[in-house]
């Protein structure tokens, strides 16, 4: 006998939102774009929905999908609500007090027996400025070394820029685009990665700017601009050097600026002397005429802006490439003036000093760089880890990283969700989401905006700020060093950092769009850096060749770290990751909507697909020296031949249940010694069905 009622069809599919909620203003803390948010909150202070803030002058109410996906992460099934302790492989709920006692006791134990170097932190941007400050105070008090997002995101860029200009930060707000005549976007699909702020480029174009995109892929950004230059992956440095060569040869640089404000120009000229456009054309695949035309455009269009992206930062020859393009901006005099300079999401504003009395500071007894960390994990040198992030997915050679973490004696994970890294922890602590904590949020427009707390913390979730203070108290450390709340934390940070002392919480609150930094005691904002053409380098000038740790010399990506020594006959393709708008690293995958919008795939040129005997939707296995991954194929003419592209947002411990793509990238850094590489790595591929699956 069948049924006469089908209850599942009786409920409604859509429940249009009634806008009854209390609307609170906040700032998105996902991609460092700094978009203003309006968050609708219900009576029990639960976040209902996220909208764009029309009063924010930077995003003007517009938004990319990421912040709207948050609600599902906040109250989704993966969210951690209570401290958990692993007992016989299973997590059991414990109290915060018990958790803190265990952690404090373990920490003190390792500190005494194995030294401060045996305890390491892995933190990303969980929480916000309050958590960050508390962590840095805790680190100073315990000598704990921290690995933030630098090695996987921006270290090379920051180091090169700091060496050249004296500051690693972006020099120009994106909003300056409307004053620019030419905007050079390189290795940067900002239409996807900074979608909420993309309107600035459109406005710039309406105001007459020419926007040029240089990328191996015909990206969404490339679609929207005046000129797209397709370049062979990893060869941007050659293009940059040829542009320098042409500008110098044709004397199109700003002679006065070069003379007065830069150092090492002659050496620079020498370094690019033989880097002719013919040579560059051969390397980059960009026709010589195009290179020459671009050089002419650069030479004649001032002011011009540069917006480099991860496409030239997270690569194995990042250092020299960045050096070339930033030197190009420098000799053209495109620095410090409206509509010139370098746009980036790096918002360094200096460290707060003297937060801890000198006698209480503990120096880490061992220093390691990010690469060395792997070995230290494997060799058991590291006894205890604090994780706030997902290194098992976001660090290269993820399998090795996971194994390393699994081998550590005691792992504490302060997290929103039970992700791949949290699953390896001994103690899991529930973290507040950034919407549940106020704090300072900087953005791509070089502003500091005060992010208001909107929702109440979920269940027993705690901020990193509270966690480290309470832990310090359990460990008998001087608690008085720690701030008690986000406002106090900012007050502490501001008053201990002369660069931002003028930026009070009140001022941020009262200024729509926030306050440009640095902002010293006199309260003057700095819309763009170096407006006075004074550079905080040793020479006070732009050091065109940086600190010489990186040579301005083109290096073939196939010969650079990660690929050097690999046989191209065995690994004939290149493998890279590229981002999509619906995801920010691995954070958004806990939203069902995001998972529905984006399913992992690998992009192939049609001829590559023919070579590999796969068609659209078929599964392709991609193998590198460190791992292998199976992904469905998407055939497209928008990617070059012999290069495979996928996206870096998926992991095992989420609805995707896919091996994180970083497991295919070796532990390799570019010469600048900063960034890990997650592009242009040699790989091989074959149709998965050949294995009989």
């Amino acid at each position: 006998m069948g049924f006469y009622i089908r209850p599942q069809v009786l409920s409604h599919n859509s429940k249009p939102m009634a806008h009854h909620g209390d609307m609170r203003t906040s700032i998105c803390s996902l991609c460092n774009g700094g978009c203003g948010l309006k968050v609708s909150v219900d009576q029990s202070a639960k976040v209902q929905a996220v909208f764009g803030d029309p009063d924010n002058p930077y995003n003007k109410g517009k938004l990319c999908p990421k912040p709207m996906e948050i609600v599902q992460t906040l109250y989704g099934p993966d969210r951690v609500g209570y401290p958990l302790k692993k007992v016989n492989g299973q997590f059991v709920r414990i109290s915060w007090d018990e958790a803190l006692n265990i952690i404090a006791q373990k920490h003190l134990n390792y500190l005494n027996n194995d030294g401060s170097g045996s305890i390491v932190g892995f933190t990303s941007k969980i929480g916000g400025s309050y958590s960050k400050l508390a962590l840095s105070i805790f680190s100073e008090l315990t000598g704990m070394a921290n690995f933030g997002t630098g090695p996987i995101c921006y270290d090379s860029e920051e180091k090169v820029r700091k060496a050249m200009f004296g500051s690693g930060s972006a020099s120009t707000p994106l909003s300056d685009a409307i004053f620019a005549k030419l905007i050079l976007i390189i290795g940067n699909n900002c239409a996807q990665t900074k979608a909420g702020q993309f309107q600035w480029l459109q406005e710039a174009r309406r105001a007459g700017a020419k926007v040029v995109v240089i990328d191996p892929r015909y990206t969404e950004t490339a679609q929207q601009v005046d000129q797209f230059i397709q370049i062979k992956p990893g060869t941007d440095g050659a293009l940059g050097m040829a542009l320098l060569h042409l500008i110098i040869k044709n004397k199109q640089y700003d002679e006065e600026f070069v003379r007065e404000k830069t150092k090492d120009f002659d050496q620079l000229a020498k370094a690019v002397a033989d880097f002719t456009p013919e040579k560059a054309a051969q390397i980059t695949g960009v026709p010589q005429e195009v290179i020459e035309k671009l050089a002419r455009d650069l030479g004649t269009s001032r002011p011009a802006m540069l917006w480099p992206g991860r496409g030239i930062v997270c690569v194995n020859n990042a250092g020299s490439t960045l050096l070339a393009f930033e030197a190009l901006m420098a000799i053209l005099g495109n620095i410090g003036k409206p509509g010139s300079g370098i746009v980036s999401h790096i918002n360094g504003y200096g460290k707060a000093n003297n937060l801890v009395p000198p006698e209480a500071v503990v120096k880490p007894h061992r220093k390691r760089n990010a690469q060395e960390l792997y070995q230290a994990l494997e060799e058991g040198e590291i006894k205890m880890l604090y994780i706030a992030g997902n290194p098992c997915a976001n660090w290269p050679d993820s399998n090795r990283m996971s194994k390393g973490i699994a081998g550590v004696d005691f792992v504490v994970c302060h997290t929103l969700v039970l992700d791949d890294s949290a699953m390896l922890a001994d103690i899991v602590l529930p973290a507040v989401h950034w919407l549940e904590e106020s704090g300072m949020q900087a953005g791509i427009n070089r502003v500091m905006q005060w992010k208001e707390k909107t929702g109440e913390p979920y269940a027993e979730a705690k901020s990193g700020g509270d966690f480290f203070r309470q832990l310090a108290s359990k460990m008998g450390l001087p608690v008085s060093c720690f701030p008690d709340n986000p406002e106090e934390a900012w007050e502490l940070e501001r008053t201990h950092n002369p660069a931002i002392v003028g930026i009070t919480v009140e001022r941020m609150r009262q200024t729509p769009g926030g306050v440009h930094y640095p902002c010293p005691e006199n309260g003057e904002e700095s819309v763009r850096l170096f407006a006075n053409a004074v550079f905080p380098t040793a020479s006070g000038k732009i050091e065109l060749l940086g600190d010489k740790r990186v040579e301005l010399k083109y290096s073939d990506p196939l010969e650079a770290p990660g690929n050097a020594g690999m046989l191209q006959t065995e690994y004939p393709y290149l493998f890279s990751t590229v981002k999509v708008a619906a995801h920010y690293h691995t954070e958004c995958q806990y939203s069902e909507w995001a998972r529905e919008l984006e399913k992992p795939y690998v992009e192939l040129h049609p001829l590559t697909a023919v070579e590999l005997e796969v068609t659209d939707g078929e599964e392709l296995r991609i193998e590198t020296a460190t791992g292998s991954l199976v992904l469905p194929v998407r055939i497209t003419h928008t990617v070059p031949r012999n290069v495979l592209f996928t996206q870096p947002y998926y992991t095992m411990k989420s609805g995707y249940e896919t091996l994180p793509v970083n497991s295919l990238f070796p532990v390799a850094c570019d010469q600048a010694g900063g960034n890990f590489v997650n592009k242009n790595i040699l790989c091989r591929a074959y149709a998965e069905r050949r294995l009989g699956r």
Partner: protein
């Protein structure tokens, strides 16, 4: 949540199943005067005529109540106490509820005719009625059916199937005055007369005659008609209409007109009391007023809507309309909507071929199909009843074609019939 459902026919069981589907944990109590499994009243005449065995009259299987987790109580509900949120059963017991559904249906109306209390006078509504008649018929040769509505004719058919001569008395000048026009009714009458039925139209029974039987009681021996004519018979089946069973809500505050008045969520005027089925007076989308459309499909649809709203899912009932389907001597007869518009209103399309029992009539008002009758080839009737429900303008050329052509769904065609604004 404690749901109490009074009545275990169409509206009651569909409501109960809906609630069960939406709220697995809720307590569902079903109370009915008839202490048995849910069965289809529409099939009682089939049972009477021995066209189906008794087991087929049940529309749910033997373990229905236990499988669906419905507590069943075979008691009559005497009174609803809305203030105390409870009902009083015939056995004096009180049952409380959080949500109450009244789906008590209706009962045959017995006109005050002299002799209507005689042995051999029956009505046919419940399973018990059918069984009683079945027990009585061995002594019957000649029967009189009072009322030629659908119920009367189906009852007559049941008796006729048993080899009894059937005489049908109808007050109106035609058969099924509420669901057919005179032309179609004439066609049906012709069919049945050929089969041996006798009709007394424009007539009524004024007296039922009786004679002493062996048990000392009085048994039917015939009827006297208004015309003075007498018909000798051993059985009288009264089928002159039904009245909603609203007695249980008197003094409860639940507003009653002819039936219990409900809104589009099947809520009565009293909170947490819902009503559905033949007892409820619901919105009629063609007449644009509340009416009782005591029809199986309406009862189930209302039951589902009531169930949803009781279980917390807001759903609206679109409204009912008249719809009837019957088969006479193998000829299907379907009618829907408004059949008789006042003179000068609307437009009528008609085709009749009596020799092959074929008749079609389409009634349009403001270029919208509002009613139809089909006798004979009835395939595709559903598309027309849907068009009536949809209330959209129709193309008259196509309506004209439908008089003779096959009727088929038009929605796939770009110049599809139903266009323009929905609604009146």
């Amino acid at each position: 949540m404690r749901y109490l459902i009074v009545g275990n026919s169409a509206a009651g069981i569909f409501a109960a199943e809906t609630i069960r589907g939406l709220d697995q944990a809720g307590q569902i109590i079903m109370v009915s005067q008839e202490d048995n499994l849910p069965y289809s009243r529409c099939l009682t005449s089939y049972l009477l005529g021995q066209e189906i065995p008794e087991q087929r009259i049940y529309i749910r299987n033997d373990n229905y109540y236990s499988e669906t987790g419905i507590e069943f109580i075979g008691q009559n509900v005497e009174q609803v106490d809305a203030r105390a949120k409870s009902v009083l059963l015939a056995n004096g017991e009180k049952l409380s509820y959080d949500k109450l559904l009244i789906a008590t249906g209706s009962s045959p109306f017995t006109p005050p005719i002299d002799g209507s209390n005689l042995e051999g006078v029956f009505q046919l509504r419940t399973l018990e009625d059918a069984k009683k008649i079945a027990d009585f018929v061995p002594n019957v040769k000649e029967a009189v059916v009072v009322g030629a509505g659908l119920v009367g004719l189906k009852g007559a058919h049941g008796l006729h199937e048993l080899g009894i001569n059937v005489n049908v008395v109808e007050f109106a000048p035609q058969l099924m005055p509420l669901s057919l026009d005179s032309e179609a009714a004439g066609m049906v009458a012709g069919l049945l007369e050929k089969d041996g039925y006798r009709f007394y139209l424009n007539n009524k029974v004024v007296k039922i005659l009786g004679e002493k039987n062996n048990n000392g009681g009085m048994t039917v021996s015939g009827v006297v008609l208004d015309s003075g004519e007498q018909i000798a018979c051993q059985l009288v089946l009264m089928a002159v209409g039904v009245r909603p069973n609203t007695a249980l809500v008197r003094d409860s505050g639940v507003k009653v007109n002819k039936g219990i008045i409900v809104n589009d969520r099947m809520q009565t005027s009293v909170e947490d009391i819902y009503s559905a089925g033949d007892v409820a007076e619901t919105y009629d989308l063609l007449w644009d007023e509340n009416r009782i459309n005591a029809l199986w499909p309406m009862a189930t649809a209302q039951g589902i809507v009531a169930g949803c709203n009781m279980a917390g899912i807001e759903r609206r009932y679109e409204g009912s309309m008249g719809l009837n389907s019957a088969v006479f001597c193998g000829v299907g007869v379907i009618s829907a909507g408004i059949l008789n518009l006042p003179d000068g209103e609307g437009q009528v399309f008609r085709a009749a071929e009596p020799q092959r029992n074929y008749y079609r009539k389409f009634i349009l008002r403001d270029d919208r199909l509002v009613g139809m009758i089909m006798v004979g080839e009835i395939e595709g009737a559903g598309f027309l009843s849907a068009l009536i429900r949809k209330r959209v303008k129709v193309n008259k050329t196509v309506v004209n074609q439908w008089l003779t052509d096959k009727i088929s769904y038009q929605g796939y065609f770009s110049e599809g019939i139903p266009m323009g604004k929905v609604g009146q």
